[in-house]
Symmetry: D2
């Protein structure tokens, strides 16, 4: 049992605080013989990096990853892969004002009650800074999954503003500062978030992550279900309050006929699904269709608008947070969500291989 | 790692198939010295039991639990608690028609592709019958939590029909066959589900589970978060496709001020929250407020309406399922959801005690 | 984490007390498609069964195993395999005398101090009766390992009496009541143990277990070492106080040249070891040579000779145990040791397959 | 599951290779509020450090530990404690000769067969250099155990030379380069090891580690036994081939009366044991007496004397190792063994507290 690890056969352990000297992680269980260098990880960190647009925190962190073990002559060796990112721009003084105060909606209070000690510098361990470790681990997980499996994410709602699904374009996602897949939504979101930031407020978001090219058979019938592990992985991201697979909560309003994913045969002998309400997972096990998951990110709790609160001496105070915070922390959660999905899938791919080495890599049935 | 266990210090392992001789479970890690007998478990099983109204499967199962170990002279001993429920009414012949066919939306296909062998009798391991084990384990978890912690559940939407929150009454929940908390919704749901059943169709549902009386401090900052474990536990229930905590997906549409749970002091020196958007969990750790989680259950996939599918020889066929199925599997998911929440909380209570024996049992701060 | 499970991908969980209604176990992670029935397990239980010679406990237990799940139409399905053995001959009254007294060298006292409650009927969970579960799990593990891997055990010392290694014959092992591999040692052991039993005393033993036909590569460099897992598995057997691999403690007295296992090439391109001081494991990983482990079993602590002790009220008393105990509990530890080795190897075989699917199945190098 | 972690509630994860940029570790689960700084760890590393006498490797490593997380203002925070030690003296060129050759008795071959890739620089992950991480983790474990629990180790045999138990002095251990507790054995060992080194050979050793001041109740009846975890922890140290508890293998030669640890009452109401054959553990659970474990270390396999071997192309070659190796690797295993024992005990202390918060801290019974 570990409170700072996830995964089983592809196992990630994370350490570090927002304002300590560094943050880092270990990937244990990565198979040997995979080409891996810092250049494979850095582009994913760069996507998550703060300070890239006016819509994310202005903290300046190069987020340069350094591989410390598990790779020799450009190849993974099968031993644990340790990596580290040094913290550079730790302006702890920004936090003087909230040193003794609990921000509403923030982990300040619960940490204080649980541990009795508190690293007040930018949230310590609860800071979204830790998500850089997840992104680095996700880059390694992608190596395990191989090029045939593609994992992508997009922000599909920002505050009350959604997208038009008929305009969904993956290519658009990397063209705007919101990872928004709908080109017509972008200017509206831009305007909305600019106003929110100006008002000292923040917005929530919904992120969608999709894995394509997966074999069927990943997962297990009950507690080791693929969807249960995805739910835990996404819910473990800072500020996430909801997770759904495929049709998700909307599916609860459907009847059985509408929700059924009917099947026909492809000419090549593989099963063809006529829809994907299931989000690629049935009974905890992947079908071979795209795995589709969405998660809800609450609005950033560190805001400039004063809120009623208490301090650690039990006095009633007002709190407002001056630091350099994301007005919509959901934006930077897109690469984090992708990474978590990649890690879960890499773990399940190894598990599946262990128990079911003969299972088919496609949803293929004998043709009669 | 186990595909059929959950929890760490309060650890449940489950076994058994829908149409085998029995199903059973083991609770490992239950502290010694707790009063426990079959009479503590049976009432919870009776709530989940099939055949109790026309709105659930007509399979007749007494679901009599038998304790096999871990209890001596009416007290837990600290050793593993094994229990078993015999299957009685295994009419496997009902399943002859779907022996070789894959029900759309069901685990039939993915099991076949993963394992190469398939227990076609009523879904084998994927049957909702297994949830009886969770309910029994939940009854033991409640013993660990003690009387001061109350865990309750209700169905808050059936198909497209919701409830009116202002009429929410916990007492109503046990007065109708839907675990519905809104007395005025009951006749509408009754009519709707009767029509659905008649039409050979099925409906989805949304369930809400709530834990009151918890101490603050349960959980951990990152991967061992209380909400991540709740998400996995609820998503691991058959047919669940979404999980949310507190405001959940609705919270994504809020701004930071609206979502903040402001705080004042109670006269007794404990923190008073003015709202509970967070659903009792901040930064992965319980606040001491009620923990509130909701999960979405898809409509039962075994329906009488024919759907296009394939069989295991790759032929295109039509499938309709004649067995005795729940027209709304969400109904019986209410006690299951309660049980899963109880198990997760018992586990975290033991974990918290191990690492933080001095932590306060209430959200109490020194008064200045 | 579990206190009653072992293994990771081939995971065994055990439950039950000596004098409860039954004992049982679950094997989770067994691959699907293996032929398995009760007839595959029973012969191994029969070897361990009490009451078969005057040198083991006279408790009469048929030890009939019943498979409850995970097998369908004679094949494993990939779901958890549950099995149960009913207790028949629970003469608890034999234990009346020691109800409140602590047997020196027995777990009575430590259980009492740890749990505050105690199942005084024959040791409860600490009874060697639980080892039947290990033997049943071991029979399933052998199925995972396949016929090419042979696991055998022998008792190589009984009390102060050893064997002559030059007379070691595997065939002899099943011809005498001691699992002794040296035909000339048998009559001496027989005489010695008869005298010991008559004197109301007991004897210790050393058991050797050997696995042949293993591929190289099972294990891991550091904490997940094959030998570390074997050590834990064997040390977890009741009454075991020491474990060694290959040369073991004797190797500590050797110099580097003598302990080195020199290598040449076989004509078929595989590596030929000129000796096996390493016991088939180097750096935590199997070499492909036979894995050889030995474990020391202390003399049974339940003896007829009175010993000074205390009771649970703190009074100084004398204790002697009248029950039906093994004068040399090491005898029945032979099939248990084999089973534990089989379980560890099955677990590591699955782990190895997950991470290193391309690794060779023999110690084969390219020939230049 | 992890191949590079050990422990559950006090969980250590290790990374790094002998000749990479650094090695490091993470301790997860350390309770908050313990005073901890680098100065608490460094003295233990200094005891294990190479280059301190002519009897250990001459590699020069300052082994300066750096804490990277989990400590704030001199106190543990309850979050993961990461630490790192940079490698300084990586003379990889020493290893040119064995780049393609397998040292008999070394992990070279098994790594090559398992992983297909090999870090030939000084053994990579299999080097004893990794044990520095264990020693650092052990220093943190000692903080969890507190000052009342003392953990000490000594080398009780070097090659064929043992000690005289009647001359055992803990104070002597730190006065000689062998951690030898018998002052009269020291000059003999000195002479013997000097000769061994000169001859290009090496010697094995037996180490004893002892924990005093433990409460009773640590451990569990079966698979989570304290002795099973100690066995795994000690066997996981490089070059260890045997582990025993208390009387160990000698106990197998005793009869039941001689091996029984008789009990009387102390005037203060605690149980007094008249002997400690059990090594402080009965039925997997600590008695409150000193826990005593011994482990056998094989002679270093990297020796100057040429041995027959093969290379990775399948050619038959002679191997001799020129690097800077310990002629008796057992010497530096003493602080490592202490550290592993400390880690296991810290883990079990936390586990015990979770499940049995009311258990007594001494072996105390009510006095009648």
């Amino acid at each position: 049992m570990s409170h700072n690890s996830f995964g089983h056969l592809f196992r990630v352990t994370s350490w570090g605080e927002s304002h300590g000297p560094a943050i880092g992680g270990i990937v244990d269980g990565c198979p040997p013989g995979l080409a891996l260098s810092e250049a494979d990880i850095q582009p994913f960190l760069d996507r998550r990096r703060p300070g890239q647009s006016k819509f994310v925190t202005q903290r300046q962190e190069p987020d340069q990853v350094r591989l410390l073990s598990g790779v020799f002559e450009g190849m993974t060796t099968g031993t644990p892969i340790a990596f580290m990112i040094e913290n550079q721009d730790q302006r702890s003084k920004d936090y003087g004002d909230i040193r003794d105060r609990f921000r509403p909606g923030h982990a300040d209070l619960t940490y204080h009650l649980k541990y009795g000690v508190r690293d007040y510098r930018g949230g310590g361990r609860s800071s979204a800074r830790e998500t850089a470790i997840r992104v680095a681990a996700g880059a390694i997980a992608r190596k395990v999954l191989g090029d045939a499996i593609a994992i992508r994410g997009a922000m599909v709602a920002m505050g009350p503003l959604g997208i038009n699904r008929t305009r969904f374009e993956w290519d658009e996602v990397n063209r705007n500062p919101f990872f928004c897949p709908d080109p017509q939504a972008v200017p509206l979101w831009e305007e909305s978030l600019a106003a929110t930031r100006k008002a000292g407020s923040s917005l929530g978001a919904v992120i969608e992550v999709v894995a394509e090219g997966l074999p069927p058979g990943l997962g297990a019938p009950l507690y080791g279900k693929l969807d249960a592990d995805i739910a835990a992985a996404l819910m473990s991201i800072n500020a996430v309050k909801g997770v759904e697979i495929g049709e998700g909560f909307s599916g609860a309003a459907l009847d059985g006929e509408s929700n059924a994913d009917e099947m026909r045969m492809n000419p090549d002998g593989t099963v063809q699904f006529l829809s994907n309400h299931a989000g690629g997972i049935l009974g905890g096990i992947s079908t071979g269709q795209p795995v589709v998951a969405r998660f809800a990110v609450k609005p950033t709790s560190s805001i400039l608008t004063p809120r009623q609160s208490v301090d650690r001496f039990g006095a009633e105070v007002e709190v407002l947070t001056k630091g350099r915070h994301d007005p919509c922390v959901g934006i930077r959660a897109v690469p984090v969500g992708e990474a978590m999905l990649a890690c879960v899938l890499a773990d399940h791919l190894l598990r599946h291989r262990a128990q079911n080495p003969e299972a088919p890599s496609q949803a293929r049935l004998p043709r009669n």
